[in-house]
Symmetry: C2
């Protein structure tokens, strides 16, 4: 039997390779096992149909967040637990998402925060290497800024925690806030 939580968007922000999607997948799995409606949104899911025309300039990044926020807001409004994983390097864009979504439900900002060196060492998609070689421009953390969240609801040290531990921290927070 599927259950409805209180509408919420959990917004994972952090560098490429920080573990945003990995943790979101584990949270999604755990919540789905409990019968909650959940929806993940991340680059791999939205790029083809929703944001394929956008690049990595500040303007395009902002449009990316605007479209995804629109979708997350609608889902939140329909009491779906929405798990957004976007680098979302600009504080203003994250604040925009928060403001929009809090009109209809809850917003949880999760700063996925291993050191840059760890992300670069992981380099799952080989992007850091290309960025260092100058083959990718506007790469967050290398040639583009990442504005750290000042007061995130949760900070995950994914270099020191297992994926299960990080996911548990998120779930505990949702329980504490009365969302689950």
């Amino acid at each position: 039997m599927n259950k409805r939580a209180k509408g919420v968007t959990v917004w994972f922000t952090g560098l490429s390779g920080a573990g945003k999607t990995t943790v979101a997948l584990e949270v999604e799995k755990r919540l789905a096992e409990q019968g909650y409606y959940t929806q993940r949104l991340d680059g791999d899911i939205v790029r083809e149909k929703l944001t394929g025309d956008l690049g990595f300039s500040k303007e395009d990044r902002n449009k990316n967040i605007e479209r995804n926020t629109f979708v997350a807001k609608i889902l939140t409004d329909n009491d779906v637990i929405t798990l957004c994983s976007f680098i979302s390097p600009y504080e203003s864009a994250r604040n925009y998402a928060k403001k929009e979504i809090m009109q209809v439900g809850e917003f949880v900002e999760v700063f996925v925060d291993p050191p840059l060196e760890v992300c670069e060492k992981r380099d799952v998609k080989g992007l850091y290497k290309k960025a260092r070689e100058g083959k990718i421009k506007n790469f967050t953390g290398i040639s583009d800024p990442y504005e750290k969240p000042k007061k995130p609801d949760i900070t995950l040290k994914t270099d020191q925690e297992t994926v299960k531990e990080s996911a548990q921290i998120v779930i505990d927070h949702l329980k504490k806030r009365g969302i689950l």
Copy 2:
């Protein structure tokens, strides 16, 4: 208490002024009264945040449908009754929406079909006048094609039915299909 229906997208297609949004609003109201999660998507809702960059060329119309289909599919997958009102003049685009959404739930095509003369006489937004004067190009029914649905699930004659009657036809269909 909110209830979940089986996931469905009800897709209203027809000329500008046909009554797509008017009927969708009435359906939404009736379903909300019964406690169902419902979400409307139409030009006025999505233009600002989701599709503001798109015009009325065939390519842009297709992108418009692609983005909205993406959103409708996610909502349908989360068992929200999704009411889409888009002129969607091209059969190929409507078939695309149907194919995508039927991967996760039900799809109901509603042809909102008063005569063009009725739509033009209503001219709620003054668009037909502008189109006749050549001030708007690519206007469906005047200077751009509208490909009528060949086998819609429902045809609404909004020039002969009241809004409540049209909405009832949609709701009866949803019941008959076992969706409500």
